[in-house]
Amino acid sequence: MTTAASTAAAPAAAPYLSVNNVEVIYDHVILVLKGVSLQVPQGKIVALLGANGAGKSTTLKTISTLLRGERGDVTKGEVQFKGERIDQLTPNELVRRGLSQVMEGRHCFGHLTIEENLLTGAYTRSASRAELKESLEKVYHYFPRLRERRSSQAGYTSGGEQQMCAIGRALMAKPSMILLDEPSMGIAPQIVDEIFGIVKDLNSKENVSFLLAEQNTSIALRYADFGYILENGRVVMEGAASELASNEDVKEFYLGVSGAGRKSFRDMKFYRRRKRWLA
């Protein structure tokens, strides 16, 4: 299902995915998201930034309704995808509607081979053998390393290989919107570039929208159209990616550049006290 590549014509009004004032509690007592709202317009890449524990992964899991399995509850708010509420749907239904997630921490099927892992990604598609083969080839083309390891059990592959496998698996579903949770984690630098290349590629060629939680802020803002910054379960800043990238605070805390340009890691003499946007 390839949509027209012309994004310009798309009405800016209704966002493709919107999260409205969501509140999430884990284990009945741990309040993690305190009213998060964000939008992803169709055909755009949106970055979700924030420190460890800010609630990025939780936000993504809320959208993909995977929270239930982790004893998290959405106590307020709603999520809409293509104009419909989705917070009561099953993850399977979401994938069918074109929303895929790459979970944090790889989550490959350890006992399945890499290739089987990829094939399960296409479960919701009623694709012919040839189509599957083509999709597989595409993934192998993106990640040649996976082709080499195609027949080893995923549980025995290296961390980076597993990460590639997880991303490839999500691509196999041919989604129209992908939630990426730290795709660059544990990935060698040139592959990181490659991954973002793929993101851009899919985005511009196939009009796939992305919501990506990423710690590598500089690269994320380079590729994203729009960004949100999450602190302590709240959105504290939002704006166009370029705007964010030039914001002084963001520069200092997320990009590691202060007035005098990038500082060497070795020269950080003092532990930095994180500046909080909220008290």
Binding site: I25, D27, H28, V29, L31
Partner: protein, 352 residues
């Protein structure tokens, strides 16, 4: 009455690593113990003592034993009753063959025998994991009961293989009435629970939990898998063994090996799971739940005046359904529910 820890500062790590760091908890525990030691024997009916409290305490001890193995050290076992049987029959034999042996010492010896058996049957755990291990622990269950029925020596050549527990006399004092038996059991259980808690909060306990959570990593950090696992089996079996001896001496009186059957193993396992895997408190809550639930259901079913067979079957169904219900509501058991309750109370009146 507020449940707050605000204002209670710890000035030393020792104070902070107390079993109950919050003052209110300590007061509550003290009150509970006082009630258990003084009030209960005075006011509880013999029925409550001998049919509810004694088995509750004994099962708590067994559940605690299993919890050490399964909850803390992560080795799922379905052979608890076998270790209890070893404890009971060993204590019986020691007492029968060594006249004048103090009863408490016989219980300890029974526990030690169970620990030895536990070590022997724990050896496979070094290679086998998870449900494979669980299923193989059934070997213990069946083998031990088989030995007890087959080797006449173990039952002191009683023709039908039934043993009759000797009277409990400690320092010339007879423990023959329900309240005395209750106090004895309470004493044993309280001391052993304290020891267990101590182990769990020090290095042994951490070694068990480390092996449970990730044995490869535990090894890399320097824990010895073999020693840790076998120690868990030994300590756990010791607890179960003592519980088994109490079960025979303070509860049933006359027992056949069959009394320690698979059913009993499962009941203990339920207690652990319902109460809370990896929680000392959970062992007690679970035991209370499993001991009391059938009683309540039974009384309740009677009050509905259903035909008895319908009532009995309904009881079974409700029991099963409740287990599932609890697992769904809180897979970490009653202990966790309790904890969540406390956390909510701490935040009260704010919702979060």
């Amino acid at each position: 009455m507020l449940y707050r820890e605000a204002g209670q500062f710890k000035t030393s790590y020792q104070a902070d690593s107390q079993i109950f760091p919050i003052l209110q908890d300590r007061i509550a525990l003290f009150a509970l113990l006082m009630v258990a030691i003084v009030v209960v024997p005075l006011f509880a009916s013999p029925y409550t003592l001998s049919a509810i409290l004694i088995p509750f305490l004994i099962f708590s001890l067994a559940a605690l034993g299993l919890n050490i193995l399964t909850g803390y050290a992560g080795q799922l076992s379905l052979g608890t009753a076998a270790f209890m049987a070893v404890g009971a029959f060993a204590a019986y034999n020691f007492l029968a063959r060594l006249p004048g042996l103090p009863v408490l010492l016989a219980f300890v010896l029974g526990g030690l025998s169970a620990a030895l058996v536990g070590i022997a049957f724990g050896l496979p755990s070094l290679r086998i994991r998870g449900f494979y291990l669980a299923a193989s622990t059934l070997a213990t269950q069946f083998f031990v009961v088989w030995c007890l029925t087959k080797i006449p020596y173990l039952t002191n050549y009683s023709s039908s293989g039934v043993i009759t527990a000797q009277k409990i006399v400690i320092l010339g004092y007879q423990f023959d009435t329900p309240d005395r038996k209750y106090l004895l059991v309470l004493g044993v259980v309280a001391v052993m629970a304290l020891l267990a808690k101590n182990m769990i909060r020090s290095n042994v306990g951490r070694s068990w939990m480390a092996v449970r959570d990730m044995d490869v990593a535990a090894e890399v950090i320097g824990f010895r898998l073999m020693r840790t696992k076998l120690l868990a089996f030994a300590v756990s079996s010791f607890y179960c063994g003592v519980a088994g001896a109490l079960y025979a001496y303070a509860y049933l009186g006359t027992v056949e090996p069959e009394a320690y059957n698979l059913d009993l193993s499962f009941r203990i396992l339920f207690m652990v799971i319902i109460g809370g895997v990896g929680s000392v408190l959970g062992s007690f809550l679970g035991a209370a739940f499993i001991v009391l639930l059938p009683v309540f259901l039974n009384i309740f079913a009677h009050s509905l005046s259903l035909p008895t067979s319908v009532a009995s079957n309904l009881e079974l169904m409700v029991f099963g359904a409740l287990i599932i219900f609890f697992l769904i509501v809180e897979p970490h058991g009653l202990a966790r529910l309790w904890q969540i309750g406390k956390e909510k109370l701490r935040l009260w009146p704010f919702p979060h």
